[in-house]
Symmetry: C2
Subunit: 151 residues, 2 copies
Amino acid sequence: MTGGELVSAAKDRFGAFWSVTRSQVYRELPGLASAGYVRPGKLGPRAAQPYAITAAGKRAFRSWLAEPAGSDHARNPLILRLGFGAHHASGQLQQLVEEARVQHQAALASHRTRAAELRKNNADPYLVATAEFGVAYARALLRWLESVPTG
Amino acid sequence: MTGGELVSAAKDRFGAFWSVTRSQVYRELPGLASAGYVRPGKLGPRAAQPYAITAAGKRAFRSWLAEPAGSDHARNPLILRLGFGAHHASGQLQQLVEEARVQHQAALASHRTRAAELRKNNADPYLVATAEFGVAYARALLRWLESVPTG
DNA sequence: AAGGCCATGTAACAAGTTACATGATTAA
DNA sequence: TTAATCATGTAACTTGTTACATGGCCTT
């Protein structure tokens, strides 16, 4: 695959849970190639450089999969602002909460339809589970938002 | 406050939701000073450099608080691995899930006690809300984990 | 075939992390 | 008083983001 193809594949699989930019991917590919994990192929149109994974690459991938996952790392700008609590002007917080509500309601809908799609196509059940995580998170967040004091 | 004091204050307020390293803080402080947002004071023991916020700094902080929060940015290594679904060896995934369960059960407990503490001390209700978010998230995640196929 | 558009890749920058050096404080 | 410990700050590196240049493609 080329860098661009990798980016869109990644976005499709877990874009909502783990973002990746093209620059990151393009930066890594030459390094992976010189480490022997991928092998460059013939240039395509627009000077697109495809790579193929090697046996060593597959081994490295599998051993990465087996590593302990480590703790997750939330970066929620709304929570950050809420942490400053009483410094807010009166109407402000209400607006922040409202924006978050809209945002996560959209996310809820999109994860729901994605989960349904995947189930309909008998997709890999683990992949379905990631979409279900999206649903669960959005639902929890929306419910929690109801309880946030907006006075 | 000195860099170290700022770091520990930040860790205390929202360490679970927005991590900050000392290096980041120490790097920013001179910049903030030359921008006029903080003013350096007399050096303390261990060459500790305290800073005081200026009026301009307070204004900048408040206008940052009022900015729209933007979308949140989850980085959950378990979800990432789940996204690769069927590539897992059989027992592996079960182990990942188990580790996550332990981790988030601990998080649930710590957010619960923190929320209770804060309520007991009549702390800022917004701050309480952040702890409640921690509880809600951990609960949702644990429930979701039950449904993840581990076969 | 000319112009706008989109995909590919690069480069400069910002944010985050890890590892280190140094100077007080504490405890044996 | 010496050794261990801990807090302060720095430096090098990695990861993530934004902005840019270029070249096929597609429409008219």
